[in-house]
C-alpha cells in the first residue's frame, strides 16, 4: 500500500507500464477508471487460454466464476472509480475450464502526464491461491469434523489459553458441570467453586510451567454416584514451540475402574503412568522395604527415588504412625485384615526435611514371582487440606457468628446469652474453655459472666478481676488483644504449672469494646495452637459479643424504663387515662378497669360516662368538651360508680394536654382520684371539731357558770334597774310618759337579750361529759394540733413537736385534756398575732419530768407575759379584747382536777411557756 501511494506520484509512461506488466510473472491486467481493461499480460492470457481481444474491455470478466462475478464487479467498480485500494478473492476460469482461487488486488495506479493519454491506469495483479484456499477448506472441513468429534465425545474436552480462560469446552464438559451458557472466555473462577477453580488452575500452572502432560485421577460425585475420571491436561505448542493453550481431556473410567481388578496394565503403560504420575508411587515388599519410588516421590517427599530403595516405608511416616503401621501391616500379612481403608485414606506423611504434611493414600497389592508387592499412590493434599481448612475455618467463623447472633436474639438474661456464646466458642473453635467477663458499672471490676468448656464455675478467684490486673484486666485496660501460642513462655500467663499439667498451649484474650469503651473481655485457652483463622474468628466473635452486650444493656435499660413506667402506670394507686385530641379516651390503666369493673373497650371513647352518676354526667361531659376545645386544664368532681360495692363515690378527674413544639395539643393525660374517703374524713373532722367545741363548753360548765351568770345577769340587771327607777318615779308621781316609754323599750330589749342567753346556755347542755380513760398524751397532742391546724396555718404559725416516744399513759378525760391543750395552743397563737419581726413558732413538747409525771409544755414566741405571769390564771383576768378571762383559769382547774399542775413561765429568749403535768396512770406500764 505504501509503495502504491509513492508510485502514484511518479509519472509513468503507459508504454513503460505495458512493458512492466508484461514482464510480471503473475497474471495482471491494466484497467481504466470505467472498469474496462486496456490490456492483459501474457501470464493472464496463458492462464485463461484467451487472446488479448477476448479479454480486453469488459470481456475479461467472463473468466470470473459466475458465483463470484457479481461481488467482484461491485468491488472492482467502486475501487477503480474511487481510486481506493482493492483486494479480493475470486475464482478465475483456467484454459482447461477449471476454476482456481485467485487473490486479486490493485498493485499500482498511474496518472499519465502526457497529453493524449489522460486516463488513469490501474494495475491489477492476480495471485493463484488455489492451493492455499483448498487447504483452508480442508482445514475447515477437518475443524468441523474435529468439532463434531469433540462435541459428541463422551469425554470432557476443553482448551484454555495461558491465562486459564476457556477457549473451548465441549458439550460433555458443560453437561458434566451443569453449565448452560457460554464457556468461552470464562475462567474457572467464574464456573466453579473457589476451591475447585484453585485446584484446576494449580494444574494449569503446572502444565504451563513444566510443559508436560499432567494426568491424574479424579473422583467426582455425579447424580448416579462417585465417578472416577482420568484427567489429562497438556500443553498446546505453536510453531515457535511456545505454549499457546492448555488442552484438557477428562475420561470417565468408572466402568473400567469397576473391572480394574481384572485388568492388567501392560508394563509400558504401567511405567508410563507411574513415571508421569503427579502422585508419588511407591512399592514395598512384604518386609515393608521400599522396592520402587517414582520421580514424583522426589518432589513430594524430598527424597531421591534411589535414595529410598531398601529403606523401610516408615521413614516416610511421622513417628506416631510408625508403630501403628508396623502393627497393622504385620497383622494384614498374617490375617488379611486391613487396619486402614486402602482407597483414599488420609494420613500424615513426613518429608525428608522433617515437615509433616497431609496425604491421601490409595494402595493395592499384587503378587509377582511369588512375592507380594504393595504399591501405594500417595498424593500430597496439603493444598486441598489448606483449602479445606480455610473453608472449615470460614464455616466455623460463620457458625460462631451465627450462634452468637442467635444467642443475642433470644429473650434471655445476659448471663444466659453469654453462656451460649462461650459454649459456641468452645464448640466451634475447639477451645479447652472460654470465658466472658463484663465490666462493672463503675468501670473498676471485671465480672465473670460465662464460662464454658472444662471450667463452668462462675465463682472462684477469676470471678472478679480488678481493671488493669492480671492478663484479663490488662487486656481490658489496654484494649488490645493478647494472643499467644506459647503459654509456657508468655510472661502474662501466671500459672504455668497449671498450663503444663493441662496441656494448654495457647491463649487468646480479646477486649470487648464499643467505640472507645471497654465493656468486657473474651478469653479462651486451647490445647492446640491457634491458626490465623481461629484468631480472626475470635476477633469477630468478640466484636459481635461486644455489640450484643451493648445492645442488650441498651435494651435492658429501655425495657427497665419502659417496664417501670408501665409498671408505674399499672400499679400507681390512681386511675390514669389518656385521650386523643378530640377527647376520645384511648387508654385507661388497670385501676380504672378494676374500679369501674368495665372491660377496656367499654371504657374507651366515651364509654366511661356510663359509670358516672346521671346527675353529674351531662355537666361533666360539657366540662370535658369545653376543656378539649379550649385546651384548658380539665378538673371535675363527680360521682363515679365503683363496681366493688356498687356505690357512687366522689371522685375528681383532672387532665392536662400534652402539646407538641408548635403548641398543638397531641394528647390528653388524665387521672381520676377517689375523694370519697377524704371527703368523709373531712366531714368527720369537721364534726369532731364541732363536737369538741360543744363538749368543751359542756365540760367546763361549772367554771363557766360565772361567765354565764354574768351574761344573763347583765340584761336582768338592766331590766330591774329600769323597772325600779320607773317605780320610784311613779311613787314620786314624777314619771313622764316618754321616760316610761324609753325605759320600757329598754326593758323589752334586755329581756329578749336575756332569753337569748338562756337559749344559748340550753344549747350548751346536751350531753354528759366523757369518762376519764387511759390516754396517750402524744396522741391527744396530735389530735389537737390537727384541730388547730387551720388557725395555725391562717396565722402562719410554725409548729415544732418534740414528743417523747413511749410515754406512759395518763388517766384523763380526753375531751378535757383536748380543751386544755387547745386553750394553750390558741393562747399561744393569739400571743403571736402581733409578732411580725420574727418567725411565729410554737413548740409543743411532751416528756416524763423529774418527778415521773408526764409534762406537756406549749411555748410561743409571742409578746410574753411580762409581770403578769402569776395573774393570768386569775378568773376574769384577760389581755384580750373579747376574751372572758376564764380560759387559763378553767384550764388550770381542769388540770388540777386531774391531780396535775398548770403554770406559766417566760420563754427564753422571748415569749411564754405554759406547762402542765399529769400523773401517770396507775395501770400504765411506766
Amino acid at each position: 500500500m505504501t509503495s502504491e501511494t509513492q508510485d502514484a506520484k511518479q509519472p509513468v509512461d503507459p508504454l513503460d507500464l505495458r512493458n512492466l506488466v508484461e514482464t510480471m510473472p503473475l497474471p495482471a491486467v491494466c484497467a481504466l477508471p470505467d472498469g474496462s481493461v486496456e490490456f492483459v499480460n501474457r501470464a493472464w492470457q496463458e492462464y485463461t487460454g484467451c487472446s488479448l481481444e477476448q479479454l480486453s474491455g469488459w470481456l475479461w470478466q467472463t473468466t470470473i466464476h459466475p458465483d463470484d462475478v457479481a461481488r467482484f464487479i461491485d468491488e472492482w467498480t467502486v475501487a477503480l472509480a474511487g481510486g481506493t485500494s482493492f483486494q479480493t478473492e475470486a475464482r478465475i476460469r483456467r484454459a482447461d475450464g477449471q476454476c482456481h482461487w485467485f487473490l486479486i488486488r490493485k498493485v499500482l495506479a498511474v496518472t499519465p502526464t502526457r497529453g493524449r493519454e489522460s486516463l488513469q491506469r490501474t494495475l491489477i495483479a492476480c495471485e493463484d491461491i488455489h492451493e492455499r484456499r483448498q487447504a483452508e477448506v480442508k482445514l475447515q472441513q477437518s475443524e468441523a469434523l474435529l468439532l463434531a468429534f469433540f462435541e459428541n465425545s463422551p469425554n470432557l474436552i476443553f482448551v484454555k489459553n495461558p491465562q486459564s480462560r476457556y477457549v473451548y469446552a465441549n458439550k460433555a464438559f458443560k453437561k458434566a458441570f451443569h453449565i448452560s451458557g457460554e464457556v468461552k472466555g470464562k475462567t474457572d473462577d467464574e464456573l466453579f467453586s473457589a476451591e475447585q477453580a484453585a485446584a484446576f488452575q494449580a494444574v494449569d500452572r503446572r502444565v504451563l510451567h513444566t510443559g508436560l502432560l499432567m494426568k491424574y485421577e479424579d473422583v467426582a460425585l455425579y447424580e448416579d454416584g462417585l465417578h472416577t475420571r482420568i484427567v489429562q491436561k497438556f500443553p498446546l505448542f505453536n510453531a515457535e514451540g511456545e505454549i499457546y493453550a492448555i488442552g484438557g481431556a477428562v475420561t470417565d473410567i468408572t466402568d473400567r475402574k469397576r473391572e480394574e481388578s481384572a485388568l492388567r496394565y501392560s508394563e509400558e503403560n504401567y511405567r508410563l503412568v507411574v513415571e508421569t504420575a503427579p502422585d508419588a508411587v511407591i512399592s514395598i515388599d512384604e518386609r515393608g522395604a521400599i522396592l520402587f519410588a517414582n520421580p514424583a516421590t522426589a518432589r513430594i517427599f524430598g527424597y531421591d527415588p534411589t535414595e529410598l530403595m531398601g529403606k523401610p516405608l516408615t521413614v516416610l511416616m511421622p513417628e506416631f504412625l510408625r508403630k501403628l503401621h508396623e502393627k497393622g501391616f504385620s497383622r494384614y500379612l498374617a490375617t488379611g485384615q486391613r487396619h486402614i481403608n486402602w482407597q483414599g485414606t488420609e494420613l500424615t506423611a513426613l518429608r525428608k526435611n522433617g515437615q509433616e504434611f497431609p496425604v491421601e493414600i490409595s494402595f493395592g497389592e499384587l503378587s509377582r514371582d511369588g512375592h507380594r508387592v504393595f504399591t501405594g499412590f500417595i498424593r500430597d493434599i496439603s493444598e486441598r487440606k489448606q483449602a479445606e481448612e480455610m473453608r472449615a475455618a470460614r464455616a466455623r467463623q460463620i457458625a460462631v457468628r451465627a450462634d452468637v447472633s442467635m444467642a443475642f436474639g433470644k429473650e434471655e438474661s445476659l448471663k444466659t446469652i453469654l453462656a451460649e456464646c462461650s459454649e459456641a466458642i468452645v464448640r466451634h473453635l475447639d477451645a479447652a474453655f472460654a470465658r466472658i467477663w463484663t465490666l462493672s458499672d463503675d468501670g473498676e471490676m471485671l465480672e465473670l459472666q460465662a464460662s464454658a468448656g472444662m471450667y463452668t464455675n462462675l465463682g472462684g478467684p477469676h470471678s472478679h478481676i480488678p481493671m488493669g490486673q492480671f492478663k484479663i484486666g490488662m487486656i481490658a485496660q489496654e484494649r488490645k488483644p493478647h494472643l499467644t501460642n506459647d503459654v509456657f513462655n508468655d510472661p502474662r500467663i501466671s500459672d504455668r504449672a497449671w498450663a503444663e499439667k493441662e496441656g494448654m498451649t495457647s491463649f487468646a484474650g480479646y477486649p470487648l469494646t464499643v467505640g472507645d469503651r471497654t465493656i468486657g473481655v473474651l478469653a479462651m485457652f486451647s490445647r492446640k495452637p491457634f491458626t490465623p483463622e481461629t484468631t480472626e474468628t475470635l476477633a469477630s466473635a468478640a466484636d459481635l459479643i461486644a455489640q450484643g452486650i451493648e445492645r442488650k444493656y441498651a435494651e435492658d435499660r429501655l425495657r427497665d424504663s419502659e417496664r417501670s413506667l408501665r409498671h408505674l402506670t399499672e400499679t400507681i394507686p390512681q386511675m390514669l387515662w389518656s385521650a386523643e385530641v378530640d377527647g376520645a379516651v384511648d387508654y385507661c390503666n388497670r385501676r380504672v378497669l378494676d374500679y369501674t369493673g368495665l372491660p377496656a373497650e367499654q371504657v374507651h371513647r366515651a364509654g366511661w360516662m356510663n359509670a358516672v352518676h346521671q346527675d353529674d354526667s351531662e355537666q361533666m361531659a360539657r366540662a370535658w368538651k369545653r376543656a378539649v376545645s379550649s385546651g384548658e386544664p380539665f378538673q371535675y368532681e363527680f360521682r363515679f360508680l365503683r363496681s366493688a360495692d356498687h356505690t357512687y363515690r366522689w371522685c375528681v378527674s383532672s387532665a392536662l394536654p400534652l402539646r407538641d413544639r408548635e403548641g398543638r395539643i397531641i394528647k390528653w393525660f388524665g387521672s381520676v382520684v377517689d375523694l370519697h374517703d377524704w371527703k368523709e374524713a373531712q366531714q368527720a373532722l369537721q364534726m369532731t371539731q364541732i363536737e369538741l367545741a360543744r363538749v368543751s363548753r359542756l365540760t367546763t360548765m361549772g367554771e363557766l357558770a360565772a361567765s354565764i351568770a354574768h351574761e344573763v345577769n347583765q340584761p336582768l340587771t338592766a331590766v330591774i334597774n329600769n323597772s325600779s327607777a320607773c317605780l320610784r318615779l311613779l311613787a314620786a308621781n314624777n314619771l313622764k310618759p316618754e321616760v316610761l316609754r324609753r325605759a320600757l323599750e329598754e326593758i323589752v330589749a334586755d329581756g329578749t337579750r336575756a332569753s337569748a342567753v338562756i337559749a344559748r346556755i340550753r344549747a350548751f347542755i346536751k350531753k354528759a361529759p366523757a369518762e376519764p380513760s387511759e390516754l396517750d398524751v402524744n396522741e391527744v397532742i396530735q389530735e389537737v394540733l390537727a384541730l388547730a391546724g387551720r388557725e395555725l396555718v391562717e396565722n402562719r404559725v410554725l409548729v415544732e413537736c418534740h414528743l417523747a416516744k413511749f410515754l406512759p399513759l395518763v388517766l384523763a378525760d380526753r375531751v378535757q385534756l383536748q380543751q386544755v391543750l387547745l386553750n394553750l395552743i390558741m393562747n399561744g397563737i393569739e400571743a403571736m398575732i402581733a409578732v411580725t419581726d420574727r418567725p411565729r413558732a410554737l413548740w409543743v413538747e411532751s416528756r416524763v419530768d423529774d418527778s415521773g409525771e408526764i409534762l406537756v409544755a406549749v411555748r410561743d414566741s409571742g409578746t410574753g407575759l411580762g409581770a403578769e405571769a402569776d395573774r393570768v390564771f386569775t378568773p376574769f383576768f384577760t389581755t384580750k379584747a373579747n376574751g372572758m378571762g376564764m380560759g387559763l383559769s378553767i384550764s388550770r382547774s381542769l388540770v388540777e382536777n386531774h391531780a396535775g399542775r398548770l403554770w406559766a413561765a417566760p420563754n427564753f429568749p422571748i415569749g411564754a411557756v405554759f406547762s402542765f403535768t399529769l400523773p401517770v396512770s396507775a395501770g400504765s406500764p411506766a
Binding site: A705, H710, T717, I720, N721, E746, M884
Partner: protein, 208 residues
C-alpha cells in the same frame, strides 16, 4: 363650799350602764358613766363628793385590779362593786381593799341606792376632814419659823423656860411668841393646839 355629789358608773354593758344612770337619777344624783376603766381615769377628779359604781368584769383588766390601781394613784374614791357572779373570797378581798359594798347582779334598787349614799357620805366626810387639815396646815404655815419651833416644843410637852433655855432666849420672849402663835392658829387652849398639830403632823410625817 360643798358642790353636788357625782356618781361615776363604769360598766362595759351599755344597757346596764344606761339603766344604772336612770335609776340613780330618780333620787336626784348626778351620774357620769364610762364603758371602761381607762376612759374614767381620763376624767379630771371632781371637787365634789363622788363614788364609783364598778363592774368586776372589765375589758383589759378586772375590777379588783382597777381598785388596786386607784389606790396606787392615791385616788381615794369609794367603790361600790357590781358582779354577775361574785363569790365570798372575791367580795372579802374587795371590801378589805376599801370597797363600800359588793352587790351581786341583779340587786335591789334600794341596796344600790343605800350603798351609793354611804359611799357619797364617806367621801364627803373624807373631804371635810381633808379640808380641816388643809386649813390648819395653812395657819401653821403662816407662823414664823421661830413660832413654829416654839409650838412644836410646846406640843411635845416642854415648859416655857425649857424652851427659852434651848433656844437661848428669854422666857418672856417665848411667852410672847407662844400667845401670838396660839392666836394665829385660832387655838383656844394648849390642849386645842396639841390636837391641831397632831392632825397636821400625821400625814406630813408619813410623807417625809
Amino acid at each position: 363650799v360643798t358642790s353636788a355629789p357625782i356618781v361615776f358608773v363604769v360598766d362595759d354593758d351599755p344597757s346596764v350602764r344606761s339603766s344604772l344612770k336612770f335609776l340613780l337619777s330618780t333620787v336626784g344624783l348626778q351620774v357620769e358613766s364610762f364603758g371602761s376603766a381607762d376612759t374614767f381615769l381620763h376624767r379630771k377628779p371632781p371637787d365634789a363628793p363622788s363614788c364609783l359604781v364598778l363592774d368586776v368584769r372589765l375589758p383589759g383588766s378586772s375590777g379588783l385590779d382597777f381598785q388596786r390601781e386607784l389606790a396606787a394613784r392615791h385616788i381615794c374614791i369609794p367603790i361600790v362593786f357590781l358582779t354577775g357572779h361574785g363569790d365570798i373570797p372575791m367580795s372579802v378581798r374587795a371590801i378589805k381593799a376599801g370597797a363600800v359594798e359588793f352587790l351581786t347582779k341583779p340587786f335591789r334598787d334600794q341596796d344600790l341606792l343605800d350603798a351609793v349614799r354611804i359611799a357619797l357620805e364617806r367621801d364627803r366626810a373624807r373631804r371635810e376632814k381633808e379640808k380641816e387639815v388643809t386649813d390648819l396646815q395653812q395657819r401653821f404655815d403662816s407662823l414664823t419659823s421661830r413660832e413654829q419651833q416654839v409650838i412644836s416644843m410646846l406640843v411635845s410637852g416642854m415648859l416655857n423656860k425649857q424652851i427659852a433655855a434651848q433656844l437661848g432666849t428669854a422666857e418672856s420672849t417665848v411667852k410672847v411668841q407662844r400667845s401670838r402663835a396660839m392666836g394665829k392658829m385660832h387655838a383656844e387652849s394648849l390642849v386645842d393646839l396639841v390636837r391641831m398639830i397632831g392632825k397636821i403632823k400625821g400625814p406630813s410625817e408619813k410623807a417625809s
